[in-house]
């Protein structure tokens, strides 16, 4: 492939991913509202369109038309920059998550990932660690004590859980012997899914992912009953929508990471034994990735309506005294496994 073709294919992939992300994020909100209604035995939004299917568009229009209020004591520039950082981090992380194997069309071999970087996992960690700035700046620049408390809580929470997240990924990297997401997926062929081989690491990563995306039971930065709305108390209109979108985009990324690192990515066990034509096989595998993604997202929503919120000291205790030692234990477990079977 020439440079020009590579650039063209990459641009096409970026456009597809970005538009799909925006579409999925808005429908994830709808999905969440319907699922929570179902869990709580309510009806949920069902008036706009058939079964409320057009509800996301109505929400977006409502948010666009609302007045944008900036508090008097706010630092205006930072107040505007914070949601941009949140959106930037949320959408650029997806560049390195592979959603399928190589696609073969007309003699072209297209890897189904926007950027096949050989330090992809570190790239994800770096960008998610930048995500904390959005919340911290939003909290500080609003000039309100609730926002500030939310911002401080989130910076402490996200730094603490990043550690156990990084150590749980360490176990995966030991198996894959590579930092390329594609190589990590390929190392989990058959039923050698990391979730099965190293269940402790899977659990610690899952819990850290919940904490990093500020989802219940760890949504202390925005804890409505105590902090009104936390870091986005003073945000309205499209700026609030940007935070909202970023939170749901982060959920999709967390789910994508969980699928890639622990649930075998796009792989369907033993599909190569069936002898399907390669295009059908590729499409089936992309479908498998999407299916796993939706399953993990459903799990996110399920947890939200099943568990109460933690107290702040409980959150810190779990992060430092339970999750961190467990993720270290997981690395030792993986090292022992490798020593025995190699």
């Amino acid at each position: 492939m020439t440079i020009l073709e590579i650039v063209a294919f990459t641009l096409i992939k970026i456009v597809i991913i970005l538009s799909l992300m925006l579409f999925t994020v808005s429908y994830l909100v709808y999905f969440e509202r319907r699922v929570s209604a179902w869990i709580q035995n309510r009806l949920g939004p069902n008036r706009v369109g058939w079964q409320g299917i057009l509800q996301p568009f109505a929400d977006v229009f409502k948010l666009l038309l609302k007045e944008d209020i900036v508090p008097e004591k706010a630092n205006k520039k930072l107040h505007a920059i914070a949601p941009i950082i949140a959106l930037f981090v949320a959408f650029s992380t997806y560049a390195v998550i592979p959603f399928g194997p190589e696609l073969q069309i007309f003699n072209y071999k297209i890897p189904l990932v926007v950027a096949d970087v050989n330090i992809g996992i570190l790239f994800v960690l770096a960008l998610t660690s930048l995500g904390v700035y959005a919340i911290t700046f939003a909290g500080w620049s609003s000039g309100s004590k609730y926002s500030l408390l939310g911002g401080i809580r989130s910076s402490a929470q996200m730094i603490s859980y990043e550690i156990s997240m990084g150590f749980s990924i360490g176990g995966v990297l030991l198996f894959a012997e590579s930092l390329r997401p594609i190589a990590i997926v390929e190392s989990q062929s058959g039923w050698m899914w990391n979730a099965i081989v190293q269940p402790i690491g899977f659990i610690t990563f899952l819990v850290s992912a919940f904490a990093e995306t500020n989802r219940l039971p760890f949504d202390l930065p925005e804890a409505e009953p105590e902090l009104v709305g936390g870091f986005h108390t003073e945000y309205s209109s499209m700026k609030f929508a940007a935070f909202f979108l970023a939170e749901y985009a982060n959920m999709i990324i967390a789910a994508g990471l969980i699928v890639t690192l622990y649930l075998g990515g796009w792989q369907i066990p033993y599909i190569d034994k069936l002898g399907l034509p390669s295009l059908v096989e590729t499409l089936l595998q992309v479908g498998a990735f999407v299916f796993k993604l939706i399953a993990v997202l459903f799990f996110f929503l399920w947890i939200r309506w099943s568990l109460p919120r933690f107290r702040y000291d409980q959150l810190m205790n779990i992060g430092w005294k339970v999750m961190f030692p467990l993720s270290l234990l997981n690395i030792i477990w993986v090292a022992i496994l490798i020593m025995i079977f190699n």
Partner: protein
């Protein structure tokens, strides 16, 4: 003009400008913000210099951990504005700037004066190989394993020390 040159000028320019902004802004939060931008553009320069692992580590360690910690402390203490003592004794400032400018000119002079024993020409294959995570890991766990362990002990000691110092009452 190659892409490499353009990118290095852009990142270098951002580095220089944000460094100046860090020391001239009165509000410490704004200073911290520009320092983060500075570190991010330094990571860009590291990528241009083929040091991919260090570039990512720069973002994770500096931008992701150390600067968040700084912001955390700034917000926690919420110190009084520096404005009221920012402008007194201007002669000290002028003196400082002059001294540092002289030192800077000296460094530049030395850089251009120095004759390297062999002409430094970047061999891109060698340079790319030096920055890969495999190469760094191999060196770190063979020739430099003792400093690596020492760094680990240093971090452990620093963690305990920070806890002891910052704790309100230590029993």
């Amino acid at each position: 003009m190659s892409l490499e040159l353009i990118l290095s000028i852009v990142f270098g320019g951002i580095c220089a400008v944000t460094a100046l902004l860090v020391i001239t802004r009165i509000n410490p939060v704004i200073s911290a913000l520009f320092l983060v931008v500075n570190f991010a553009s330094l990571a860009g320069l590291y990528l241009i210099l083929n040091a991919q692992f260090i570039a990512i580590a720069q973002i994770i360690v500096y931008a992701g951990a150390i600067m968040v910690f700084f912001l955390f402390v700034i917000m926690l203490l919420n110190p009084e504005s520096e404005k009221k003592f920012f402008s007194h004794k201007p002669y000290i400032k002028i003196f400082t700037v002059v001294i540092v400018a002289i030192v800077f000119v000296q460094i530049i002079y030395m850089i251009f004066l120095a004759q390297p024993s062999e002409e430094l020409i970047k061999e891109s294959a060698k340079s790319v190989n030096a920055g890969t995570i495999e190469q760094i890991g191999r060196e770190l766990f063979t020739n430099y394993v003792l400093p690596f362990e020492a760094a680990g002990y240093l971090l452990l000691a620093a963690t305990i020390g920070a806890l002891v110092i910052a704790k309100k009452k230590f029993e």
